[in-house]
């Protein structure tokens, strides 16, 4: 798929995510929209996973550490055919396996997450196992910038460099917001590039909504022996004007009128992009 085709797909994914959140009556809207382009590129261009090959030991591993944004993952996995899109209407309903964080009941989900600060350490283990087993798969995780306050991430940061895990990429959804507001006000963590570089990682700072930059950052081999830390600069709520950069949309669920407006905005942006071709 070309960048243009992938970008067009991103509108359908965002719509699917918003619809499923409204159907569930709960969900993480802002952070889902901020990481949607990252997931779109990962699943449609980078990861060698598919519904047919998900059991293959050589598949790439993706663990979504910021598990609360499962709604974005559900939308992408449904689009990739891991399960029928009609399942999305059951999220958070009784007797549905689709719950508000990733679980391994769901085809395509590698690990249960939702308690922040587990994904990166788990990925250290998977990447280390690949080294020990001389396997060629790559390992990816997606972190939130608020999540980085958990100390386990920094313990893992040491370990990844220590074990020279160049088969590992940690992607930071750097939308600069968490539940309580700006990460810099809650618990400042900058300069992140210098910190992760000092920990022994190769750091790549990119625009997390730019398909060419995402693709390059996720494919280019790293300096020998170094894990890659990708700072994907994103906008929380990306794609819906009234949700962009507004903290309360972290777990805000749109009303019917808000959903209508959001879908209309996405339709209009999609039409404009088609036009631009």
């Amino acid at each position: 798929m070309t960048d243009h085709e992938l970008q067009l797909k991103s509108f359908a994914l965002r719509r699917a995510m918003l619809n499923l959140i409204v159907g569930a009556g709960a969900g993480h809207t802002g952070g889902g929209l901020s990481c949607m382009d990252i997931l779109n590129v990962l699943y449609n261009r980078i990861l060698n996973v598919s519904p047919q090959t998900f059991g293959d030991p050589h598949r790439d591993r993706y663990v979504q550490s910021k598990g609360h944004c499962v709604e974005a993952l559900y939308a992408v996995l449904a689009d990739r055919g891991f399960f029928p899109a009609s399942d999305l209407a059951t999220v958070c309903h009784y007797q549905s396996h689709y719950v508000g964080h990733p679980t391994r009941h769901i085809p395509g989900v590698e690990m249960n997450t939702g308690a922040l600060g587990h994904g990166l350490p788990i990925c250290i283990g998977m990447a280390l196992a690949a080294k020990m087993d001389a396997a060629s798969y790559r390992v990816f995780t997606l972190l939130g910038d608020g999540e980085l306050a958990e100390g386990s991430n920094w313990e893992a940061g040491l370990a990844a460099a220590h074990y020279r895990l160049d088969n590992l990429a940690a992607i930071l959804d750097h939308n600069t917001l968490q539940i309580s507001g700006h990460t810099r006000d809650v618990m400042s963590n900058e300069p992140l590039d210098e910190k992760w570089r000092a920990f022994g990682w190769e750091v790549r700072s990119i625009n997390g909504h730019d398909y060419a930059e995402l693709t390059e950052a996720l494919t280019a081999p790293s300096e020998s022996g170094k894990p890659v830390f990708i700072i994907a600069n994103t906008v929380k709520g990306k794609g819906v004007s009234f949700m962009e950069n507004v903290a309360k949309w972290h777990h805000g669920v749109p009303s019917d009128a808000e959903l209508k407006q959001a879908l209309a905005e996405l339709d209009a942006s999609e039409a404009a992009l088609k036009e631009a071709k």
């Binding site: 958070c92 964080h101 600060g117 306050a149 309580s180 507001g181």
Partner: protein, 307 residues
């Protein structure tokens, strides 16, 4: 209940300069009044529960009384060693306000289901564990918390739970409340399951069975005297918690330890991860934590006694 407990922290902190609120990324609207009026008594930390608990212990060593609030699972499992060593061992006056005790966060799945918190914390020496049944009782208990020696864990229900507690007798930490006199049977309960227990006792009453209801808002120290005093030929416990290490187990230990062996059953969550989610109410029904099952269990045990 959550709102009441946090409002109480604010109210108490405005009166007592040693009281301090610490949140873990709870949202911009949390305790705004305190934040503006007494910024020194309001901290909103990042997502870093282990650091927060030890930090609170450090402040408590210096004479502060920190009240920490975040989601129950992260406030118990995530920082357990910090709780044992920095709170329990040092008897620090840190208060843990745990949002979403039990099955409240059913739609969020296993990471957020706080079904083992009581078992976890019962193992910590010097810990006080509170599980109020409604907002009114929360208010009464919160007022007592600044004076408790050592750490206190406060389990919150969903919020908007029907008020079933009464102002009399006055709340005392460590003292269970008898809401209905036992005759044939005694139901022992805690937290919001009190509603379920009262409903079951009323149903049983209609069938001519007198079931008492003993509400243990304090799970540690558990009121052994009251349990032994009111134990009837049939004792049934009910709780929104796993059967391992919860109220039911503790009551059984007390009864057997005193040489008492009534017909006994526990109602609670089995030893397995949830395989269904939905809402708190749907999971309560799935685990038969219902007044119907409670009444049926009491009746079944009574019939056995009569055999």
């Amino acid at each position: 209940m959550r709102k009441t407990s946090l409002d109480m922290v604010q109210e108490m902190a405005l009166r007592d300069p040693r009281i301090l609120f610490i949140g873990s990324d709870l949202g911009p609207d949390t305790l705004k009044e305190l934040k503006v009026q007494r910024p020194k008594q309001f901290l909103m930390e990042g997502v870093s529960e282990a650091n927060i608990v030890s930090m609170a212990a450090g402040m408590a060593m210096e004479g502060w009384i920190p009240y920490i609030n975040t989601i129950a699972t992260f406030l118990t499992r995530r920082c357990f060693e910090q709780i044992v060593l920095d709170l329990g061992l040092h008897k620090t006056k840190v208060r843990l306000i745990a949002s979403g005790g039990g099955l409240v966060y059913a739609p969020l799945g296993p990471t957020h289901l706080a079904i083992d918190d009581i078992a976890i914390l019962r193992t910590v020496p010097n810990m006080t564990i509170l599980a109020p049944c409604d907002a009114d009782e929360m208010r009464r208990l919160m007022l007592l918390t600044p004076d408790v020696d050592g750490p206190v864990y406060i389990r919150l229900g969903k919020g908007g739970d029907p008020v079933v507690s009464r102002a009399e007798p006055a709340c005392e930490i460590g003292k269970a409340i008898l809401l209905r006199e036992p005759g044939d049977a005694l139901i022992v309960t805690t937290g919001v399951c009190l509603q379920v227990a009262l409903a079951a006792a009323a149903e049983l009453g209609k069938a001519g069975i007198s079931a008492g209801v003993l509400h243990c808002h304090t799970l540690k120290p558990l009121d052994a005297d009251a349990i032994l005093k009111h134990a009837a030929p049939v004792v049934v416990t009910i709780e929104e918690h796993i059967l391992i290490g919860g109220l039911g187990g503790a009551v059984a230990e007390i009864l057997l330890g005193a040489g008492r062996a009534p017909r006994f059953a526990r109602i609670g969550i089995p030893d397995a991860f949830a395989d269904q989610y939905g809402s708190q109410a749907s999971l309560m029904a799935r685990y038969s934590i219902t007044s119907e099952n409670l009444a049926a269990t009491v009746t079944r045990l009574l019939n056995q006694t009569h055999k």
